[in-house]
């Protein structure tokens, strides 16, 4: 199967879905590279797979554990890696955005 080269619009759509801002140069480079990659990985479609179903690597069954509270991160530790105030994470205002 031959993959038509991804258009700039398609790359922009992908980048939007993936929430990654790309430069113009990146869009061009990734259009070429992703086209080649997608063409290669699409070879999975030439395998006759019938009713095959992948269940798990090592055939594990349902895994349960007792519902007992254990030690977890303190609030201070949990917010320590970002801007924070009084134990809360500080983010941009979400309501009243322009769009």
């Amino acid at each position: 199967m031959s993959q038509p080269k991804l258009t700039t619009a398609e790359i922009e759509k992908l980048a939007e879905l993936a929430k990654i801002q790309l430069t113009a140069g990146e869009k061009e480079k990734f259009a070429t590279q992703l086209t080649a990659i997608l063409e290669y990985v699409a070879t999975v479609n030439s395998v006759e797979t019938g009713a095959a179903v992948f269940k798990s690597q090592v055939d594990t069954k349902n895994v349960f554990k007792d519902d007992v509270p254990g030690v977890s991160l303190s609030q201070t530790d949990a917010v320590s890696q970002t801007k924070n105030k009084n134990g809360y994470i500080l983010i941009n205002r979400v309501i009243n955005e322009k769009h």
């Binding site: 790359i11 992908l14 980048a15 879905l17 993936a18 929430k19 990654i20 801002q21 790309l22 430069t23 990146e26 480079k29 990734f30 590279q33 992703l34 080649a36 990659i37 997608l38 290669y40 990985v41 699409a42 070879t43 999975v44 479609n45 030439s46 395998v47 797979t49 095959a52 179903v53 992948f54 269940k55 798990s56 690597q57 090592v58 594990t60 895994v63 554990k65 254990g70 991160l73 530790d77 949990a78 320590s80 890696q81 970002t82 801007k83 994470i89 983010i91 941009n92 979400v94 955005e97 322009k98």
Partner: protein
């Protein structure tokens, strides 16, 4: 017999004997390793963070326990490194990506907890391709690690820092991570032993995720015997990782000395065809001949889906990665770009924090999972995965182990394979095939090329049969 090797060059087994007889102290050994790191790092660049203070404090604590006659752990005083994908409290964990620069782990990975309980000594965190995305460590957001055996060449990847560190003596062993060959490739390229355990054999808790259904935690060591010692400590069920198995952990040391007479080795014909470098093949076939001398029978087998395994891998692994890496939003941790709206923060933090390889894999995964393409890519690849697993399990009913080259080529030159990302992905053809199946694989140094570059051979056994791999690997090392 007195050991005349330099301290940093000792195996874990040798160092334990000297520590236990009090010929050396843990602090002396740690200082020797730290001095070696200082000497080698300017050129090799295996470490992102060296934890000299932690190492000295841990080594002193081991020596104090020994003096007081307190019970010591099985790896007491042994310096080691961890790939920078593991959380170790209070230390930076970057996963090799700029998106996590400056992130300080607020907790410990289970594998680190287990090694701490065994009184091992952490000397640093090693460089890698970001999130494990690579075969040469050249994708790292921080530095290019050189192969200590030939500094014009790559150490392999993604755990290239781990391989290089063990090869030059920057720690007696390393904990690395294997999602698609990332332990086996650098171990092979650096002339070492490396084990990708069965999926679920070692807890993944606290390991920064790449592809959760493939990720495995394992050792890189100088010898198979050392790798077995380390696995004894880190294997086992962990309540914090629901995919970790409660399958009993056998005594690995007991398996090492078993004779191989009458055992069967399978050579998959698909692994010895086009694309395999002649010198690699030659060394591997000499290794096969040695196994025959040890009384093994060699049987030709077939793994017909080999050709499609790598394609299936590169659909499923990027799909899982695109989901796992969604957490790098510029909000909770890591690289943050201030902007007006939350969406701009996210788009710009990811746009500037991720390197090209992270972006490529996230976008391939996003594509494969998106509406309209999911059946054609992700679901189809999962079906191929099911058949691939059946292929391997069928082959493993005919033979005790499968033997193949670990990598199809010798360690390549830095910069040689960076122009075409797809070609770099294809270099993983013999290693990535195991990750979708969950099977364990051990790479052992099989020998060297004419230019004295190492050639790794990969041994594959059924699920949870790591002891069989250690048996074969150890017997090989003892008989060359």
């Amino acid at each position: 017999m007195k050991n005349t090797k330099k301290l940093f060059a000792l195996t874990v087994k040798e160092a334990l004997a000297m520590l236990n007889s009090q010929e050396i102290s843990a602090l002396e050994l740690t200082e020797a390793v730290l001095a070696r790191i200082k000497e080698m790092e300017p050129e090799i660049q295996a470490f992102i963070t060296v934890t000299a203070d932690i190492a000295r404090a841990q080594a002193k604590a081991v020596d104090a326990k020994r003096i007081k006659g307190e019970k010591l752990g099985a790896l007491a005083g042994i310096p080691f490194s961890m790939k920078d994908v593991y959380n170790t409290k209070g230390v930076q964990a970057t996963a090799g990506s700029k998106v996590l620069e400056g992130y300080i782990s607020p907790y410990n990975a289970t594998v680190y907890e287990k090694l701490l309980a065994a009184d091992a000594v952490l000397v640093g965190k090693t460089n890698c391709d970001p999130f494990g995305f690579g075969t040469s460590t050249e994708n790292s957001g921080y530095q290019v690690t050189k192969n200590p055996l030939d500094t014009s060449r790559v150490p392999g990847g993604s755990s290239g820092g781990a391989g290089a560190a063990v090869a030059y003596g920057g720690g007696l062993f390393a904990i690395a991570e294997d999602t698609g060959g990332s332990i086996r490739c650098p171990a092979a390229f650096c002339g070492l032993a490396g084990l990708k355990p069965t999926y679920g054999r070692v807890s993944r808790y606290g390991a920064i995720a790449y592809a959760s259904s493939f990720d495995t935690v394992g050792p890189i060591a100088k010898t198979v015997e050392d790798a077995a010692l380390i696995m004894q400590i880190i294997a086992g069920k962990d309540e914090l990782d629901a995919t970790s198995s409660d399958f009993a952990v056998p005594n690995y040391q007991e398996s090492l000395a078993k004779p191989l007479k009458g055992k069967t080795i399978g050579l998959p014909k698909e692994y010895f065809g086009e694309g395999l470098e002649a010198e690699v093949k030659e060394v591997i076939m000499q290794a096969v001949a040695r196994f025959e001398k040890l009384g093994c029978q060699v049987k030709k087998i077939s793994l017909p889906l080999t050709e499609y395994a790598i394609a299936a891998y590169y659909v499923i692994a990027p799909s899982e990665a695109s989901s796992n890496l969604a957490r790098y939003s510029g909000i909770r941790f890591g690289h943050q770009v201030p902007a007006e709206t939350w969406k701009d923060v996210m788009m710009q933090s990811r746009g500037t924090g991720f390197g090209a390889e992270e972006k490529r894999r996230i976008m391939v995964g996003t594509y494969a999972l998106s509406a309209g393409y999911q059946d054609q890519y992700y679901k189809k690849a999962q079906k191929v995965r099911a058949l691939l697993k059946e292929d391997f399990l069928r082959a493993l009913t005919e033979v005790d182990v499968i033997l193949s080259p670990t990598m199809p080529m010798l360690p390549f030159k830095i910069g040689d394979n960076t122009a075409d990302p797809l070609q770099m992905w294809l270099a993983d053809v013999f290693t990535v095939t195991l990750n979708p199946t969950g099977l364990p694989g051990l790479t052992v140094n099989a020998g060297f090329s004419k230019e004295h570059l190492p050639v790794g051979m990969q041994l594959i056994a059924p699920h949870f049969k790591e002891e069989v791999l250690f048996n074969f690997g150890y017997q090989y090392e003892q008989n060359i």
